[in-house]
């Protein structure tokens, strides 16, 4: 038996890196703008990269329908996965349905450069399994309250990129963006955070640049994602990820791109 053909296309470790798309998990609470962010990214990167999207709607195919209606990608490159009331499980504890959807998408429309996997809006403890996402973006918004970064959680603390969305709304909802960025920085130990307003014509540019950078690293085989790990209570100064050291062949644990 050769490792490459273990169980046909169903491999415990997935296909070899170079031959499949970078999988970008996009998580965060309901209504923070995950779908809009993906639509904007597709609009910005669609001519440059072959893209696919898997959505995990809670109760409808709303997100997939929204994305298709935006006309940013051919409709067949956007697929919806039902998660049986368990959006959290579908991206972390049992990713099989999402993995299957990603692989089918690549089989049918590949080769793709990037597949975005949008989590059904969940709470602050949601995080993608490394079995599903190679890198992940966590999306918060100013309208959800400027105390959310301080509350922390694996997505806030250890996602590869934290997006603070709807900064244009901050004055109207009484949120202090500077405070959100400060609290995020304290939580994130140097990992990047980007304030974003998708209402601005060029609002997604920095996030798109980050995705491009991740895709380049992926193709080069140098991408190292932070696994946010299981939810654990921790304060801003508990660097509990240190309890889960990542062993890498090159001994280099963290290769993160920082916001410009």
């Amino acid at each position: 038996m050769s490792a490459e053909t273990t169980y046909g296309t169903i491999r415990a470790d997935g296909p070899p890196r170079a031959r499949r798309a970078l999988r970008v998990g996009i998580g965060g609470p309901v209504g923070t703008g995950k779908s809009s962010l993906i639509a904007a990214l597709c609009r910005c990167l669609g001519s440059e990269l072959q893209l696919g999207v898997v959505t995990n709607d809670i109760y409808t195919t709303e997100d997939a329908i929204f994305l298709r209606s935006q006309g940013v990608l051919p409709a067949e490159r956007i697929v919806a996965v039902q998660t049986g009331c368990c959006p959290h499980t579908a991206i972390r504890d049992d990713v099989s349905a999402n993995l299957e959807a990603v692989e089918e998408l690549e089989r049918a429309h590949g080769p793709l450069a990037v597949v975005f996997v949008e989590s059904g809006g969940d709470n602050l403890t949601a995080a993608f399994s490394p079995a599903l996402a190679d890198t992940q973006i966590f999306v918060l918004d100013t309208a959800g309250g400027d105390d959310v970064p301080r509350k922390g959680g694996p997505g806030v603390a250890r996602s590869d990129l934290l997006v603070i969305n709807k900064v244009d709304l901050a004055p109207r909802v009484g949120s202090d963006v500077a405070r959100m960025l400060r609290d995020s920085a304290e939580r994130r130990d140097g990992r990047p955070t980007l304030p974003v307003s998708l209402r601005e014509p060029d609002g997604v540019r920095e996030v798109a640049a980050w995705v491009l950078d991740q895709e380049e690293r992926w193709r080069a085989g140098t991408l190292v994602s932070e696994d946010p790990g299981p939810p654990a209570p921790h304060g801003p100064h508990d660097h509990d990820h240190d309890l889960h050291p990542h062993a890498h062949d090159d001994g280099h644990a963290h290769a993160h791109v920082h916001a410009h």
Binding site: Y59, G84, E100
Partner: protein, 249 residues
């Protein structure tokens, strides 16, 4: 060892995608099924489609075991080819037989994705198993009951155990979905599943017997049951078109 593997295959925490399926309960609830009627729903499935699934799991388990046993008796790695070939042909024939008993496209799609999820786990439970590997490549469908039986056989379980697990999982999966779909106490639904234990055991014995009667593979597939619940098939079609669903099936 097989006792623990048996538990592992029955455990909903084993990541095989079952949490996103209600085995037809959600469309039934949408059509008006009430909480008090869940035990009747559980029983109806056990006696019909779950019994078919269990019989196929038992048959696939027997095929996988025969090839595994033959392989152990061979002295060289190459000599097991014939046994694996025969077992593979039997599993693919079971695919066809089950397809003939699965008229609805949504159910066919559901058991396919559940089967593939289980194969993904099996790649770690029985690494390098030639039969599972070749079946995953050769089967265009990989329906869960056949995969389940093959994995059970490859890991050393008996056809009776495979049938029992298959039946139990059907009931336990519905019970788990029921508390999300209806105002029910999970202690109550758990008690309903426990109450079905004698019937599950009796059906498991019957399923293993029908699987044995269907051997040698291909000769007696008529012995495998074809009981069905047409209402489940019809509602599955409506469910697939519904825009307000939580569960895949």
């Amino acid at each position: 060892m097989s006792a623990v593997l048996s538990l592992l295959l029955a455990d909903s925490r084993t990541p095989t995608g079952g949490y996103a399926h209600s085995a037809g309960l959600e469309p039934a609830v949408a059509a008006g099924l009430r909480g008090a009627e869940v035990p009747a729903f559980l029983s109806a499935r056990l006696e019909t489609v779950a019994f078919v699934d269990a019989s196929f799991a038992a048959a696939a388990c027997a095929d996988a075991r025969s090839s595994a046993v033959d392989r152990q008796q061979q002295s060289t790695a190459h000599a097991d080819g014939a046994a694996v070939d025969a077992a593979l042909a039997a599993l693919l024939a079971l695919d066809d037989e089950l397809a003939a008993r699965t008229p609805g496209a949504p159910q066919r799609a559901a058991v396919r994705s559940l089967g593939r999820a289980l194969l993904r786990v099996a790649a770690r439970l029985a690494p390098g198993d030639a039969l599972l590997e070749r079946y995953a490549e050769a089967s265009a469908w990989t329906p869960r009951p056949v995969v389940f039986g093959a994995v059970a056989g490859a890991t050393g379980l008996t056809p009776l155990e495979a049938a029992r697990l298959s039946l139990y999982e059907d009931a336990a999966g519905i019970a788990a979905a029921a508390v999300k779909l209806l105002p029910l106490d999970a202690v109550q639904t758990t008690a309903w599943v426990a109450g079905l234990a004698p019937r599950i055991e009796a059906l498991a014995v019957e399923a293993a017997r029908s699987a044995a009667a269907a051997r040698p593979p291909g000769a007696g597939f008529g012995a495998l049951p074809a009981t069905s619940t047409p209402l489940l098939d019809l509602r599955a079609l409506a469910h697939e078109r519904s825009d307000g669903r939580l569960f895949v099936s």
